[in-house]
Each structure stands twice: as C-alpha cells, then as structure tokens.
Amino acid sequence: MKGILQEKGVPLDKQRLTWRDMVQKPISKLDDDAYTRVRIILMNGIELEASRFSHAAARMNPPALQRLLADVRILEQHQATLINWLIGPDHSPLETTIAYEQVAIDITAAVAMREPDEYLAQVYRFGLLEDFDHLYRYSALLDRLEGKDANNILQSYTDILPGRPTIDHHRAPQDNLRKPYDRKSAAPLSKLHALTIMAAEQQTHNFYMNIGPMYADPVARQLYAEIASVEEEHITQYESIIDPEESWLEKWVLHEVGEVYNYYGCMQQESNPRVKAIWERFCDYELGHLQVALEAFQKFEKRDPEEILPEELPEPIPQASQREFVRETLANEADLRANGTEIVDKKKENKASLQYRKEVNADGSPSETVSAGYRWAPGSELKLKVA
C-alpha cells in the first residue's frame, strides 16, 4: 500500500451525492457473501465515528476549524447513509444484530492476530471473547423468538458457542479502562486498529440502544439492555487505549487515514462488484478529506504531517473467518477478567466488579435466561423427525 497517502483523491467540491445516490439497491441478504454485509456494517461504523468525533472537535475548537470540520462532516453523513442503506429491509433487527456480532468477532480477531503490541493484542482478545458470547445469546434469541437460524446470516464462517459468559461481563467502571498506547512510539498499525475497533463497537452500542425498545418481547428487551451495557463498557475500553495526548488535529488526521485504510481494505476484498465500486469511490473521497485535515494540521498546529503519518499504510485487516484463532483464544482465555487496566486470572478479579455484577444481576440474568439449555443446530429444530 505504498504511496496511497500521497494521492490527492477527489477534491471536496467534487464530492456530491444525490438522494438517489444515497439510496441505492440494497445487497441481497440471501445471495451476497456474509463479508459484504460485514464490510457495510464496519464502514457505517467508521463513518459514524468520523461524524461523532468531528462534532466533538467542533465543540472544542475555534470557528475557522469548525468550518473545515463541517465541510467534511456533511460528506461523511452522506457516505454513512449510502453505506448503511445498503442493508436490505428483509433483515429483521435481530438478523442485523447477528451480523453486527459477526463484525465484532471476525474483525476484532483479525486485529488481535496482527496487533504488534502484546498488551493491546491481549485487550482485543479480551473484548473478542465477550462479543463471541453475545453472538451465542442473540442466536438463541433469534431461534427462540423468531424461529430463525442465525447461520443463514453467518454462512458457517463464524461459530455459535458460549464464550466468556455475558453474565460476567459487567464490571465496575474502573475495570473497563485500559492503558493507552504512546502516540510517539506506537506502530501506525496499532493506531489504525484502535480507531477501527472503537468505531465498530460504538456503532454496535448505538444500534442496540436504538432497536432494543422496538421489541415487544420482554426477554428481547432485557437482552438488548444487558448487551448494550457491555458495548458501553467496550467503547470505554477501546477509547482508553488511544493516547489522549494526541491533539484534536492529530486525531482528525488519524481518523481520515483510518478511513482511507479501511476503504482500501474493503476495495481489496469485496466480492460484489457494485459494492466494490462504492468502496473505490469512497476511498478517493477520503483521500480528499485527508488533504483538508493535513492542511488544517499544518495551518493551525504548524507541524509537519510527516511527524504523524505512516510512510506507507499497513496491509489491510483481513475480512474473513477466524475460526481457529477464536477457538484457540476461547480455550485459553475465557477465564480471564479485568482488574484496573490489567487483564488477569478470574481469581484476581477486582472486588468492586464482583459487587457491581452482583447488583446488576440481582433480578436475574437475561443472557442466561435466553440461552438456558440452548445449543445451536442447523436449521433450528430440523433435527426433529417427521412422525
């Protein structure tokens, strides 16, 4: 990926999307490969993080910078719309939830495998086993509430097994904070990984918070309430691994680099030609956004972009099944817990977390209830024999 950051991309004033552009034909839930949907969910999350970050930056910076952020942000709004609207309306919210967890598992696993910093890799593996368990609980709900097989969405790429039990994910807030990487010495890949996973988790949290109350069923309403709370913990975890000493503009530049990086990865791996063309178009758009951010960085901070830009972008995050890695992690690390910023053995868990968990689980555990006695089987009860 040498040289891509030297490309100028499409200038901002040439980046226009009509409502018709934004509302295109959705993908096919049945015919498209599961990773096309994974990419859509991931990139929607990346764009929405760009938007949330930009709003936060605008609230803390002078009008001249607010203007530049606004110029880019409206385009990101339209990109996010186009991408998110690719999800077909025949996905029930619960089916889309299954796909969100597939993103959280297979992308986090790929990141954990390639992360050069051992502490950060451990943090990703820790989060991975929790999202892995969420998939099992939601699959039980999909089967038991809607009578559907989660594997229609997963397409056999991702296992449906209990991980670290969701009932144990609830921690005292201080046990969700981790140590940040050092902006001066961290590998560019570490920075890109952190931004990517934080964005994915943030959108997963937003999604669960929005669709949870759409369910009539109290079991579903409780399960979304419980897992949304864990996603909140995950955002806390992943934002805390990012160096808070990065300036606002440094963070903006890194966001734009991260968007280029992830669109590039999607372009390289997409199997649907129509969707691939969208990734290519938006990769060029992001290169245009990066130019604006770099100019602002130089103008307002009087710093040389080379100080923070990688010489070349690392190889893309693989968007593929990571079954073996996940099973291995599950076998070795399901019993790990958090104590402050450290990942520790279950026996060394912080008492504050044990107390907090006892309190929130006092009226019962939605994730245990929904999956009581549940084993995934192909086609749900297809194993039943005709009398």
């Binding site: 839930k29 790429y157 097994l161 079991v219 209830t369």
Partner: protein, 220 residues
C-alpha cells in the same frame, strides 16, 4: 423489476458452505447454561402479570366499549388497506401485470368507503373517529410486515399478492365479527351497511385469491 424467483447464488444454506463441517461441530462443543425454554416463558409470564394495556378508550357506554374498539380497528385497517392497494398498483405497473388496473382501483375505493363507513358509525354511536383505539393500534402492528412486503421494490407480484391475501382474509373475518357485535345495538341500518361491506370484502378475497394463484403459477 423481479417478476419470478430465479436460480442464483443463495449463500444462506449449509450445503453451499465449504466450512459447514466445522460449523456442525458447534452443537457438540456447546456447554449451555442449565435449564430450557421454560426460563423464557417464566420471565415473559412475570412481565405479562404486571403489564398495563397498550391503551384505553376515553369515553363510551359500557355496552359499546368492545364495539367502539373494534370499529376503531376496522377504520384503521381499511385506511391502511387503501395504502396496500396503492402500493400494489405501483407494483403491477412495474411488473406489467395483466390484472386490470381499474379493478384494483375499485377495490381500493371500496376500502376507502369502508373506512368512511366506520368513521360515520363511530360518530353515530357518540365516539370520536380521530381517536386511535387499542385494537386499532395493535392491528397497525400486525400490518407492518404486510406494508414492508408491498413497498419493497424487490418483491415479486406473487409475493405481494400473498401479503394482500393475508389482509383480505383478516378483513373478511373482521367484518363478520363486526356485524355480530352490532346486531345487539338494534341499529338495523348499520348492520345492513356492514353486511354490504362484508359482501364487498368477500368479492375482494375471491379476486385476490385468483390473481395470487395465477401470479404464482406463472413463476412469481
């Protein structure tokens, strides 16, 4: 638009996946939490025992409460029914369907008339036709899936007619019920109007069944 189901690259089943064998291992590898589906039923039962209704009726004579609620339901359903037929006409046009447009328009207009009839009946019984009754609200929830099918540009004509068939079958049963509920009020005029509406609905159902059958047999 899509007019028939075709052979393609459906990825949702296991037979097509090279990873199916590993996936099958999941069943054996699972160590589930103890218990079974009764845990879900128990929780649902606890919520049900403490639930409040989706809503109430503000004012009605005690003997008319059920009838008013059901008239509100019919009013809402018939109005939504016009929208289902609006969507069906768009679909037929796009598909170049042979179904005569004026017949669809006629049914659509009858649904609108039934809506007006329910409104007038509610008023004549001292109610407020602008009010959304609890049964109207719940019928709206039921209809959400039907509207999703009709307005999805990807669905075939036969798939849409299947959804319309669900609506018309419900409509027929509902008018029958409404007549039974109105008879005890002694309002013969209203009963007669409702019987006429039921005849219209029987006619709709017959036509929709035939169109659905034809569209299905033609591969849609």
């Amino acid at each position: 638009m899509q007019t028939a189901t075709e052979i393609g690259t459906n990825h949702s089943g296991m037979d097509i996946s090279p990873a199916a064998e590993e996936m099958l291992e999941n069943t054996e590898l699972t160590e589930p939490p103890s218990g079974d589906e009764r845990s879900l039923a128990k929780l649902r039962g606890e919520y049900a025992s403490q639930a409040e209704p989706v809503g109430t009726l503000p004012q009605a004579e005690a003997s008319l409460i059920l009838l008013m609620d059901k008239l509100g339901e019919r009013l809402a359903f018939e109005r939504s029914g016009t929208r289902l037929y609006d969507a069906l006409m768009v679909k037929c046009k796009a598909a170049g369907a042979k179904i005569p447009m004026k017949e669809l328009q006629h049914i659509r207009d009858e649904e609108a008339m039934h809506f007006a009839l329910c409104g007038a009946a509610i008023q004549s019984l001292g109610g407020d036709p602008t009010e959304q009754t609890p049964c109207a609200d719940v019928a709206g929830v039921e209809g959400m899936g039907l509207m999703q099918v009709l307005t999805d540009p990807r669905t075939t004509l036969a798939q849409c007619l299947h959804a319309i068939l669900v609506a018309e079958m419900t409509d027929n049963a509902a008018w029958e019920e409404l007549i039974e509920l109105t008879q005890p009020t002694g309002n013969g005029d209203l009963v007669a109007r409702f019987q006429k509406a039921q005849e219209n609905e029987a006619d709709h159902l017959e036509k929709v069944r035939a169109w659905y059958k034809e569209a299905t047999m033609n591969g849609g």
